[in-house]
């Protein structure tokens, strides 16, 4: 019943007389003619990256804020998310299927679980690295604990938090390539459609790498935009 995503379909190769395509070669002409077939998987891949990272960020942020007040929670949270992180994604995509079925839900749950450890650890480190004097100064000015967190500590932790987001995003782009095993499509399914056809592998794999790079630059740009004081110092 789960054979569908792995079906060994061959790409319909137009112009079968072309010896390059017949030899599974790297054919620029074929790529130009067939680039359209990759847009849908690419969009699926974007979806499979953005949604899990966003959900994972929200959960990690909540966990980190709770653990910031109750520090003894940090250990258990790191242990549990660490176990999630260690489970291979391919295995997770199957382990979840009896519960969440074949498709996006399974892929999302697994991908979210991988972002937690990375983002949580970075937020906690960022919050911890805020100098004690800064915190003291804020308290001395009469800020409440909540205000210290949201106006001083979190803004100062932005660089570490963003570094965590970048790692989580590029990791998720890579893992989303395996979401084909959860029946969730993405560029990975396009790779498996014909893994011996060089043109196909290069385009599908290349798009995944470019996507990771694009997200990385985007997050970097956002970081620069929301931390003007860092630019002033540099």
């Amino acid at each position: 019943m789960t054979a569908a995503p792995l079906a060994q379909l061959q790409i319909q190769k137009p112009g079968g007389s072309d010896s390059c395509v017949a030899d599974n070669g790297f054919c620029p002409e074929w790529i130009v003619d067939n680039i359209d077939r990759y847009w849908t998987p690419l969009l699926e891949h974007v979806y499979l990256t953005v949604v899990p990272v966003a959900i994972g960020f929200a959960i990690s942020m909540a966990l980190a804020i709770v653990a910031h007040r109750r520090r003894w929670l940090t250990g258990p949270i790191v242990t549990v998310t660490g176990i999630f992180f260690a489970i291979p994604s391919v295995a997770a995509f199957f382990l979840l299927q009896p519960l969440t079925g074949l498709g996006y839900t399974t892929a999302m749950v697994a991908l979210v679980s991988y972002t937690l450890l990375i983002i949580f650890r970075n937020i906690t480190t960022g919050l911890r690295n805020v100098p004690g004097e800064t915190r003291d100064a804020a308290i001395g000015q009469g800020l409440t604990e909540r205000q210290v967190l949201f106006r001083v500590e979190l803004p100062m932790a932005v660089p570490e938090i963003m570094a965590g987001l970048r790692i989580a995003t590029s990791t998720t782009v890579g893992l989303a390539a395996l979401a084909v095993f959860a029946g969730a499509g993405g560029l990975g399914s396009e790779i498996l459609v014909d893994k011996r056809f060089k043109s196909n592998v290069v385009v599908a794999g290349g798009l995944a790498v470019l996507l990771a790079a694009a997200f990385d630059l985007l997050i970097l740009a956002v970081q620069r935009a929301i931390t003007p004081w860092q630019r002033a110092r540099a």
Binding site: A86, G174, K195, F197, N200, A212
Partner: protein, 253 residues
């Protein structure tokens, strides 16, 4: 749904698949059971151990040396960034389409995956060694080689083993898709559902997950074991020194 408790559903059947042979989905062949899975597991482990060993032999000495001479900040960050950005499936498919199938290719791909965390962790580990310690050792007349062997390597060991842990977990996890290149690891039932069915896929997934967590856990233990006694002593004291005053004040409000 024979002896397995109904409440476990698919999981019960999958566990039964792990322990007992059964006829394949398409019929004719016996699949599952300990002997078959042990065979897949052995291949899985051989491929993984070979890859991590080769990667360690290449990456650790190189990064130790770069860390020692203090050059390679760029290499250390670049390798880990690039390593993360390339999907393992894409890398494997690239090798399959351009070079071909088989053991050598799979091990090559796994080595490439294992190298970045090793380089980064070894390099960072050496650079993190207290400069005063290095200066003191040099002042006592240690040569460059002695410095690496007696000071930098031991003090960087926890970080190096952290890298080994990441690499090993990645490699064991990725070896699951090796059957795409005709190497029959534990991923074989996952990749060939026409023979193994969903129960086989789920059974293999359980085995892979258990093995990976075991590897992660084993390396975590190992990492603690190789931490020099001096570092273990220094750690809590350092933490106390840096954070106590402000934390106490915050906690009391």
């Amino acid at each position: 749904m024979t002896a397995a408790p109904a409440i476990l559903g698919d999981f019960g059947e999958a566990i039964e698949f792990i322990f007992k042979e059964r006829e394949s989905v398409s019929g004719g062949v016996q699949i599952g059971g300990i002997p078959e899975l042990a065979g897949f597991g052995a291949t899985h482990m051989i491929v993984s151990i070979a890859a991590v060993a080769i990667a360690a032999a290449l990456a650790i000495p190189l990064a130790l040396w770069l860390g020692h001479i203090g050059r390679g900040d760029f290499l250390a960050t670049a390798t880990s960034n690039v390593g993360r950005a390339i999907p393992s499936l894409a890398l494997l498919a690239f090798f399959i389409s351009f070079i071909g199938l088989g053991y050598t290719n799979v091990i090559f791909v796994l080595v490439l995956l294992a190298i970045p965390p090793l380089i980064t962790n070894t390099y960072v580990g050496v650079r993190q060694v207290d400069r005063d310690t290095v200066d003191a050792a040099r002042g006592q007349g240690m040569t460059g080689t002695e410095l690496v062997r007696k000071i930098e390597l031991p003090l960087a060991l926890p970080s190096i083993f952290g890298g080994l842990r990441t690499s090993a977990v990645n490699v064991v996890a990725t070896a699951t898709i090796a059957p795409l290149a005709n190497v029959q690891t534990l991923g074989e039932p996952i990749i060939t559902p026409q023979t193994y069915g969903f129960v086989g896929q789920l059974g293999a997934a359980i085995v892979v997950a258990v093995i990976t967590i075991a590897v992660d856990f084993a390396f975590a233990r190992l990492q603690r074991a190789v931490t020099p006694a001096g570092l273990k002593l220094a750690e809590p004291a350092a933490r106390r020194r840096f954070s106590l005053p402000t934390r106490r004040r915050l906690d009391s409000t």
